[in-house]
């Protein structure tokens, strides 16, 4: 573990305050990350260290580059400039999983088989089936294991997608607005489920969202991206379980909205 941190420290250090923090080993770190599509620069020299087991929310207006950032972290795209370092996991390879805005379940595979997709190249047959059922139990869908996806509701499908992402116990879970398409009540339920599983499995979570309430309710730390840069890096040190609508969360929410829209218009 010490070795890991040393190797990361050898990168050009631009954020010394985070480096010294007592939060534990770093899960991944971005140094001078930039991404452009053609002439358009979406991300511009981003520096970011995320610690193991940390829950980070990335927030910003649409088109600010937050989803691009997530795709880079998940390895779906390559940065145009800069370096992205993953710490080598104690077990060997750090596994990163991504959960998309849509459930993206295979319509022709039953629920348990869809979850087992998360074990591709890891385990097969009976072992995979057992692991799939265990994680389905955790998201409360064990009794639906033999069903086709089309019979499930939107929230249930997203829970299956969450089970698929977590079945192989990833080190990092990247979430690309996975709750954006759900209705308000289902969303709160999913947030609680996500928090519960995160507390239990202790993976590093990176949640891209445009919902400020969701960000402060779930995250240890909120990153605000504006114009391709990190505009705000805010610690949310409110103890869990957090109560929706508490004044402390509201204060943090206002601060983030101020950052996004400029002072005074936050309550508009």
């Amino acid at each position: 573990m010490t070795l890991t941190v040393t190797s990361l420290r050898s990168a050009p250090d631009q954020a010394p305050s985070i480096e010294q923090s007592p939060k534990g080993p770093i899960a991944f770190s971005l140094r001078g990350i930039g991404k452009s599509f053609g002439d358009k620069t979406v991300l511009d020299s981003i520096d970011l260290d995320v610690h193991e087991g940390e829950f980070v929310a990335v927030i910003g207006k649409s088109g600010c580059g937050k989803s691009t950032l997530l795709r880079l972290v998940a390895g779906l795209d390559q940065p145009t400039s800069g370096t992205l370092t993953h710490s080598p996991d104690t077990a060997g390879a750090t596994r990163t999983r991504i959960m998309f805005q849509e459930p993206r379940l295979l319509p022709w595979a039953r629920v348990a088989d869809n979850v087992a997709v998360g074990l591709t190249g890891i385990s097969k047959g009976k072992a995979a089936k057992e692991q799939a059922l265990a994680i389905l139990d955790e998201v409360g869908l064990k009794d639906r294991a033999g069903e086709w996806p089309y019979v499930l509701s939107g929230g249930q499908k997203q829970r299956v997608a969450l089970a698929r992402a977590l079945v192989a116990h990833p080190g990092i879970l990247a979430l690309d607005e996975p709750l954006g398409a759900l209705d308000a009540l289902t969303r709160i339920e999913m947030q609680q489920l996500l928090e519960r599983i995160w507390l239990k499995q202790k993976f590093t979570a990176v949640l891209v969202t445009h919902d400020v309430t969701e960000a402060v309710a779930l995250a240890d730390r909120v990153i605000v991206i504006d114009g391709g840069r990190i505009a705000l890096d805010l610690d949310v040190s409110v103890p869990r379980p957090r109560r929706h609508g508490s004044s402390e969360l509201a204060r943090l929410e206002a601060k983030i909205l101020d950052q996004l829209f400029g002072t005074g218009s936050a309550r508009a």
């Binding site: 998940a74 779906l76 999983r97 993206r104 595979a109 997709v117 591709t120 698929r164």
Partner: protein, 258 residues
């Protein structure tokens, strides 16, 4: 009460044909329709029984079915192979698709004179025509099916570390299956159509030949019988395709059982 309703529901498609037959029989019996225009269904049934006893009917149906299936297997597999190759590889598509689309626009039955010159009226001629006719619906729909697979699912498969092979067998092929079945059903229709035309024009056995012979001897009941058998065989092929579809596409909301 419920079961009667269900039986009616399941067989509602047969009500109209049976009514038509009954009306037809009545019209013949009452002398509204001349025997020389259209024989009564009972006369056709008699012809059916006669030919069944001589064994002529079974032989001809057998010969035609075998031809149809042989042509279908040959043309269908080539079409399927091209559809898969061109769906997966843009190089393969670039090289062959334009050519195939040009050939597709030639009505394959227009090739009959040429085919007779090449193969005479032997089995190869029928096989060739059926295979050519079946090729295109299978090819086009397999290609469309693969191209229509949700790219988000493909991306999902990649992020979960599926190999190209796994991606193909678990995401691309199942995703293309509904479209492939559509192609299959079109192809079955074209299969019978082509075979019958080919047998009518150039053959020395089979259902089409039987109908042409009957025409020469003015056996109008046998001609009508042949036509009815085409209809039944076509329906049979379609039913088989539907059963397969139901088995393979259980996951599809359109095919849900109960």
């Amino acid at each position: 009460m419920l079961t009667i309703k269900r039986i009616l529901n399941d067989n509602v498609g047969w009500v109209l044909p049976i009514l038509i037959l009954a009306g037809w029989e009545a019209a013949s019996r009452l002398g509204i329709m001349s025997e020389n225009v259209l024989p009564a269904p009972s006369a056709v049934a008699e012809a059916f029984w006669r030919l069944l006893l001589t064994g002529e009917l079974i032989t001809n149906i057998g010969v035609s079915t075998l031809r149809a299936l042989a042509g279908f297997v040959v043309g269908g597999s080539i079409g399927f192979a091209f559809g898969l190759a061109n769906g997966v590889s843009s190089l393969s598509r670039g090289v062959t698709d334009t050519t195939l689309q040009m050939i597709r626009n030639i009505p394959h039955l227009a090739l009959i004179p040429l085919v007779i010159l090449w193969f005479g009226i032997d089995e190869e001629a029928k096989l060739f025509l059926v295979a050519l006719g079946v090729f295109f619906p299978i090819y086009v729909n397999t290609l469309l099916g693969i191209q229509g697979v949700d790219p988000q699912l493909v991306e999902m498969g990649r992020t979960y570390g599926m190999s190209r092979r796994q991606l193909f067998s678990r995401v691309i092929l199942p995703g293309a299956l509904p479209s492939i079945f559509t192609g299959l059903r079109y192809a079955l229709g074209i299969m019978w159509l082509t075979l019958i035309v080919a047998e009518t024009i150039a053959s020395s056995s089979g259902l089409g030949y039987m109908a042409m012979q009957a025409r020469e001897f003015l056996l109008i009941d046998v001609v009508v019988l042949s036509i009815l058998i085409y209809a039944l065989l076509g329906k049979l092929a379609d039913t088989l395709a539907r059963l397969l579809e139901r088995g393979f596409l259980q996951w599809h909301p359109a095919f849900k059982t109960a």
